[in-house]
Chain length 185, copies 2
DNA sequence: ATCATTACGTTCCATAATGGAACTAACCTA
DNA sequence: TAGGTTAGTTCCATTATGGAACGTAATGAT
């Protein structure tokens, strides 16, 4: 499978990466979160080639993650702003940042820290369960087949082709294992 | 700047992406979370070229995200397991999955859902503040300069070179803005 | 003993993505 | 009129990737 076809997979992670999984793309989003808006500023701060930057911004705009807003006429100049879709990538960004701080520190501490405006403290981003609010432990999160995958399963006939586009979650033995986990645990 | 040099940036996100920001890498990690361990299984499920897969697994092992464990002698066969470092990528994976579910649904619902073993309910991963436990809103998280960046700033002489490796967070006007946010809000 | 199969790679090469520098376009300032 | 600013585009050499074939070390079938 070619990378450009991964959005064909029936998998939310693959679909997400088909948009933001390219080189530079998440760094552009990072800078957008930090306030960068203009082409030249992205280019200077990332030290990316103008070529690549134009290409990535175009893709982000097409995907709906960013939007071009004119900030002056004569000549028309556009700024790139995160849309709501883009802003909602912040859990991804905070999670990436936290992992980098936890595992790739060169000994001098976090380059950037985050203050929670509500409580005023320097914080870490923690995952919690939306239902019981408890902090999440990786071993307590059990993936199960969802409606999107069920639909895809029902659709696949003998084509064999579609089967290749399903994520490994599909595998019967794994699903059985998960169900046992759920019942037994 | 070349992509291979982004780990030189004094930025946790850039450092993280220097390890997991390559094509395929996060999909390999995804499959590892779902229980895939062997070379041939990764290859089949991802439909990636053997070449690329060998390369990515090697990089993940070198970085410490995965480890090779022999599962049989004669001939020696290795399985690839997530290390603790790899397991702690789960907030990244869950955040990517949630964004894909929220924004890239084709109308048939989430391909995969997650059950929280502790409360038994289908859940969403939510970011909370580690200090006050409240759910995080993107506008309530204020990035400020941290010790790692302060050190890097102190180190840079007139080299100019090092300056290019600092993230845009460095920019004085932006930091001033953040400080105002903190005091005024 | 010979042949097929499994598992895990590596090699080779055509194609696609990237980086760097130069070029264009539309305006502004001195 | 010369040079500066901003946002791109074009061109081309260098890298990365995908696909298929090949290599190796074993097991199992005939």
């Amino acid at each position: 499978m070619r990378w450009q076809d991964i959005d064909q997979q029936v998998c939310a992670i693959a679909r997400t990466l088909s948009i933001v999984g390219d080189r530079w793309t998440l760094l552009i989003v990072r800078d957008a979160f930090l306030g960068t808006r203009r082409f030249a500023d992205f280019q200077r701060q990332l030290d990316i080639s103008r070529h690549r930057l134009a290409d990535r911004l175009e893709k982000l705009v097409t995907a709906g993650v960013m939007e071009r807003r004119p900030y002056q006429e004569r000549p028309v100049r556009h700024a790139y702003h995160l849309t709501q879709m883009g802003i909602e990538l912040y859990p991804v960004m905070l999670s990436l940042a936290r992992w980098g701080n936890d595992w790739l520190d060169d000994g001098s501490g976090p380059p950037v820290e985050y203050v929670h405006r509500a409580c005023g403290k320097i914080m870490q981003a923690e995952l919690h369960c939306s239902e019981c609010e408890a902090p999440l432990n990786p071993h307590d999160v059990i993936p199960i087949i969802g409606p999107g995958l069920r639909t895809a399963l029902a659709r696949r006939g003998g084509t064999g082709e579609a089967e290749n586009r399903l994520p490994p979650t599909l595998r019967e033995e794994l699903l059985a294992e998960r169900r046992k986990d759920l019942q037994g645990g």
